[in-house]
Each structure stands twice: as C-alpha cells, then as structure tokens.
C-alpha cells in the first residue's frame, strides 16, 4: 500500500522550512516549531516507496493512551480474572492463597449459581425473540413519512436516553400494589386483588424483561429504520398490486429484506440479556428478588465476589469466567447461525 507516494514529491519536510506560503497559516516560529516537529508525526518516503514515519515511535506516541486503556482495562482484567479464580482473594485485599480448582467445584455444586444461570439464560430466551421482532414492527410503523412522524420517532427514542435507574423507578411505581397498573385494572374490574408484580419472584423476572424490552425498543427501531431503507419499494408495490395484504408483505418482503439486521440484533440483544443487572436491582430490590431468587449472573458476581464483608473475589472471578464462557458460546452460536443463513 504505497499510499503516501505524494510525499516523494517536492514537499521538503513535514513542517516545511522557509517563509509561509501566502494564504496558509504561518508556522509557529523557532523553538516551538522544533518542539512540535519532534512530537508531531510526519511521514517521509523510504527507498521502497512505502511511507514510514521518520521517527518510528511517533505513531506509537499517538496510540499509547488507547493501547494502554485497552490493555490495562480490557485484556489484562480478563487474564487476571482467570488467575484470581484459582485463589481465595478478598475484595478489600489482604493475604490470599491459591486454592486450585476449588472455586470451580464449589460453583458446580452451588444451587444459587445455577439459579442465576437459569435466570440469565431464561432472560435471553424470552427477550431475544421479542427484541428482534417488536422494534422491527415499530420501524415499519414509523417508516412512512407522514406528518408529525419525526415527533413520534423522537418520542419513541426517549426511554433509551433515560438511565436504567430512572425508568426502573418509573416502573417500580407503575407496578407496585397501589401503582397505576393495578389501580386501573381494579377500577376496570378485571382483577380484584392487586397483582404482586414486585413481590412474586416470577413476576419480578418477567417485569424486568418487560423493562429491558421497553427501554431497548427505540434503539433497535432506529437500527431497523436504516436497514428498511435498503428494501426495494418496488417489491412492496408489486406485491400490493398482486393483492398481498400488509401481514403477508411484512413476512415475505420486509423480513427477508432485513434478515441480516435481524441476526445482528439477535446477537446483540442476546449478549445484552446476559449483562442485565439494573432492571433486577430496581424492581427486585438490592437483594435481587425474594431471597435472591431473581439474581442474574452479573448480580450474583457482585454479591459473592464484591461484597466488602463476605465477598470472595476468587469465587466471583470463577463465576465471571462462567459468564464469559456463556457469552462466548452465544456469540459463536450466533456466528454459526448467521453463516448458515447466508450460505
């Protein structure tokens, strides 16, 4: 890739010496220029024609913060998680010892761990199909340029902007025994007793799923809107002429047209479902539902690994590795499905 061949042309040096050309911004004078010249990267041509920076370390100077960030707070923590999972380190420090595979054997026999895994997997199984379909329907609804459609699009996006805590608070009050939903249902004589949305462990889990879907609708709607633009309008028109109703056109033209986007949304929401924490915390309380019955894997990691008093960072790390394995498995599965779908 000899992209910088122009550098061999009469450009004398990156910060050309001599008087500034008319119409260009003058160079900083003297000392400042020398300093700038030593820090600012400038490509020079080597004999082979490929551009090389005169000082090999200059590109690295520009890259260093990002590389350090990705290494120290991305790659290293993962490797360290694996290492810590073989110890009994405490979250607040102090002496620790290597315990081998003890954390993993403890994990396999820990019913709370399996409960958290079940909750997380269940979360993904229920949320993903709805998250793939509902925002697509919404995108189809707002796709047509009708008067006022911009307002609706922006309005549907607002739950995305609000923090999970704020929407969690809102849902908390909507679903409480005296909340709006129960009050209205009672007024309409649909139910007599309030539905225990926030005290029954199954209902908490389902409500949290509802919250996740509700908050993500707008985000994936925008995502699908972009994809819908690539579905040829002629197909819809032709199908309409042939007498196909909206439902048939949706299944036979829209869905195949945005298939790839649907696969991607499925992958993203699947990974997202395994990361759920705040929804459970807001609706099920800091215990994660009655007796911790609604805890997801991240919730469980925080409980067992990071509690200042009773936490065991080693065990938390082992559960973290399990969470990563689950995420990786899901990603690979999605990749495979996508490939099969394309091939």
């Amino acid at each position: 890739m000899a992209q910088h061949t122009v550098d061999q042309a009469p450009v004398p040096s990156p910060l050309g010496a001599g008087a500034p050309r008319p119409g260009t911004v003058p160079e900083p004078p003297g000392r400042l220029r020398r300093v700038l010249r030593s820090v600012v990267p400038g490509p020079t041509a080597d004999a082979g024609g490929a551009a090389l920076y005169r000082r090999w370390w200059l590109p690295w100077l520009w890259m260093t913060p990002a590389v350090v960030g990705a290494t120290v707070f991305g790659v290293f923590p993962f490797l360290n998680t694996i290492l810590v999972s073989f110890t009994d380190a405490k979250p607040l420090g102090g002496a620790y010892k290597v315990v081998g595979l003890d954390n993993y054997t403890r994990m396999l026999g820990d019913s709370d761990f399996w409960l958290a895994t079940r909750n997380s997997v269940l979360y993904a199984l229920i949320v993903v199909p709805l998250m793939v379909l509902l925002p697509l329907l919404l995108a189809v609804l707002v796709e047509k340029n009708l008067p006022g459609i911009g307002f609706f699009r922006s309005a549907f996006y607002t739950p995305v902007l609000a923090s999970s805590v704020v929407v969690g608070l809102s849902w908390q009050w909507l679903l409480s025994d005296q909340g709006l939903v129960n009050t209205w249902l009672q007024k309409a004589h649909i139910i007599r007793e309030a539905i225990p949305f926030l005290s029954d462990s199954w209902l908490i889990l389902l409500s949290a799923m509802g919250l996740t879907i509700w908050k993500g609708l707008g985000w994936y709607m925008i995502f699908y809107l972009a994809a819908l633009g690539n579905v040829p309008k002629e197909l819809h028109e032709a199908a309409a002429v042939d007498g196909a109703g909206p439902a048939r056109r949706f299944w036979h033209i829209t869905v195949p047209g945005v298939r790839q986007s649907m696969m991607l949304v499925g992958t993203l929401t699947g990974i997202g479902s395994l990361r759920v924490f705040t929804e459970i915390y807001m609706l099920g309380g800091s215990t994660g539902g009655p007796g911790g019955a609604d805890r997801t894997l991240p919730f469980y990691i925080r409980d067992v690994g990071l509690d200042p008093l009773t936490g065991n960072a080693g065990y938390g790390a082992a559960v973290s590795v399990a969470l990563f394995a689950l995420t990786l498995g899901l990603t690979l599965l999605a990749q495979r499905l996508t490939k099969e779908d394309e091939g």
């Binding site: 890739m1 550098d7 050309g16 890259m63 913060p65 990705a70 707002v142 991240p298």
Partner: protein, 292 residues
Amino acid sequence: MTTAVERKRRLTPRWRDYGRPRELVVRYLLLVFVLFITVGPLVWQLLSSLKGPTEDVFGAGASLFPHHPTLRAYKEVFAQVPVWTYIRNSLFVAVISIASQLIFSTMAGYMLSKPGWKGRKLVWVVLMASMMFPFESIMVSLFLSIRDMGLVDNLVGVWLPGFVAAINVLIMRAAFLAVPREIEDAAMLDGAGEWKRFRYLYLPSAYGAILVVTINTFISAWDDFLWPLIVLRTEDHFTLTLGLSRLSSSSFGYDQRMVMAGSVISVIPVLVLFVITQRWFYKGVSSGAVKL
C-alpha cells in the same frame, strides 16, 4: 390513487397523498398507542412530580393530572437531599470522560487510519480483543485493580476504566478514512504538513463522529449505575443514579413526589443534549468537501 404528476403539481401534499384514509387512521391510532406505552410512564413521572402534598400519587383516589401544579417537590428534593453534590459528581465523571475519550480516540483513530508504521496490526488486535469481554465478566478484576490503585470510593476510580474505549477509536478511524485522498493530496501539494492536515482537514471533517463520541460518552457516563455502585461508598461521592436509587428504597421514607422530581432532574440534561444535537447527528461527514 394520485399520480406522480398530480403530486408534483402541489407543493403541499394533501392528506390523501399519504394513503387511503382507513390505513392512515389505523397508522395514527397505532402510533398514539405506542406513544402511550413508551412515553407514558415517563410523562406520568413528570406529572406526579408536579403534585402537591395533598394530592395522591398512588391508589384509587389518584388522578393522572395534578390539580394544582406546584414545584414544591423540586424545592423539597434540593432541600432534603444533596442533589447538587450528586449532580456535581456525575458531571465531573461525564466531563473528564468526554475529554479523555475525545482526545485519545481521536489520536488513536487518526493513526490507525494511516498506513506506513510498524505495529499497526498488533494495535488492531489488542483493540479488538479488549472489546470481546463484557464489562460484567471483568468487573471483579477491575475492582481489584482500582483497589490496588487506592481509588475505591473515588470518582477518579469511576472514570478510569472507561477513559478510552476501543469502539470510539474505531468510530474516529472510520471518520478519518472517509476523508477523500484527493483532498489530502491537494493539501500536501500546497505544502501543508501532517499536523496542519490533521488540524485543518481531518479534524473538521470528522465533526460528525466527534459528536457521536461525545454524546455516547455523556449518556453512558451519566446513566451508568453498576460500576459506580461497586466503586463508591460514601454519599458525598455518589453520582446522580446512585443517589436516586438510594432515595427510592423505602427504608428512607422519602416522599414519592420528591423522588420523581429527582428522576426528572436527571433526565433533563440528556434530553436537552439530544434535542440540540439531533439536527447535526445525521448529516454527512464530508458532505460538500469534494465537488465533482
């Protein structure tokens, strides 16, 4: 059915240009229904925050609209809860996050968009790898690192792990790659050194991406909950989301109108930012730079 000619003749479209009446009615009914579901809970929060102490928020006697709208709950929440401290802490994290993300992802994204230096592939691999691990699966180790740095219960510890994100580097790189080669060549022939090309050509061309990085960073810092919950311990250091969640737990017995007022306060900055930037958000990155 209207023909294309007819449509062209009229500058302002008539209702029937948008489709059959029945279809239109159904569409708008559906739109209003979804509006009710998506925005309803947030609007209800806003309305309840405007209620006075004598009006019910919950229960059979509660009405949807406040009969005597008042800002009393807002005054109360500022008087009884250190909201200003929360806001200051959240702003502190958001502002330094935006600064570091912008500076470092611009630098790295620019270099990654340029060929001709050694180690580019390695950097690429490291950046991609760092995006593979969900935050929740490395947070135990991150906390241990923050602890070893002595940053527990410190806002710097909240900011540090996310001081630069690989995804933003990729966004900036894509924006710089979109700058047409012809323009850079022209600038080079005019004698512009690399710094000048970066400062006066690349940076202005990437304003769309800069905006995206800024907004994404602000929203994720402002709305973040789990990591501040892990790192912060004392109320003086709480961010707004932490303070709000603490308010809501009934053991403190705060008035719901107050908590709702707090929620509204926390949504406003993000909403304002969104409304202001919306019109620039979708504009082309280098539109108008190359004239054919």
